[in-house]
């Protein structure tokens, strides 16, 4: 039963990643592309967790945690650069 649910989960998150890529490629503004990149990072976290469930191992949680931290830090840093023209003043 978990196998079918995992197959559905992988398919759904893959389609979601493709939709994010479409928004990343055709976003009218810079902030649209940045939002798409942030969503891609969040979806990758879900994908890594699903892979960890499938492999029955907890090796990948640190990778997911690193993805979460650096995704948020990069988004906030780029927004700060857009707002101020500089990151550290």
């Amino acid at each position: 039963m978990i196998g079918y649910a995992l197959a559905f989960g992988f398919a759904a998150i893959s389609v979601a990643l493709l939709l994010n890529l479409w928004r990343l490629a055709t976003g009218p503004t810079v902030i649209d592309r940045l939002l798409a990149a942030d969503t891609i990072v969040t979806n990758l976290i879900a994908l890594i967790i699903l892979y960890g469930i499938r492999q029955m191992t907890s090796t990948y949680f640190e990778a997911a945690l690193l993805f979460a931290m650096f995704g948020v830090i990069s988004t906030i840093t780029y927004c700060r650069f857009m707002l101020r023209g500089d990151v550290l003043e």
């Binding site: 079918y4 503004t29 902030i31 649209d32 939002l35 976290i45 967790i49 948020v72 700060r80």
Partner: protein
């Protein structure tokens, strides 16, 4: 019996979480404006990842009887930082593309919104609206 119940719960959480993630990305593509587009990833995708993380925690408990706290760390981090990044994205969007004539509500400290604030247009201290007295 309890294993089957656990598998059922894990499967339902995986399906619901990945469905929410898909809905978030569909909203990211289909909604018309960035300020409305911001809603889809910040709510639906965060809820979807939360569901998948909960499924992973319950899966570890069902499989080996141990309690796993890694996922709780990731979920806490995501739920704390998703509103912050959405706030920064909206602020940067207003800074780059927002028109100042739009009808924003007034702020309560006598200055403009922080995005549109110019240096040196602060009201003198006695003209500012005073905070309510402490009880």
């Amino acid at each position: 019996m309890i294993e089957t119940l656990g598998e059922l719960v894990v499967s339902l959480l995986i399906v619901a979480g990945s469905g929410f993630t898909l809905v978030g990305s569909i909203g990211l593509v289909k909604l018309p404006d960035l300020m409305t587009r911001l809603h889809a990833p910040t709510k639906a995708t965060t809820a979807g990842v939360g569901g998948v993380l909960l499924a992973s925690m319950i899966h570890v408990v069902v499989r080996s009887g141990e309690v796993s706290a890694h996922e709780l760390l990731i979920a806490l981090f995501l739920f704390l930082t998703a509103p912050i990044s959405a706030h920064f994205l909206a602020k940067a969007y207003l800074h780059l593309h927002g028109d100042r004539e739009r009808n924003f509500p007034r702020t309560c400290n006598g200055r403009a919104w922080t995005v549109f604030d110019e240096a040196g247009e602060e009201l003198p201290r006695e003209d500012r609206p005073q905070p309510p007295p402490r009880v």
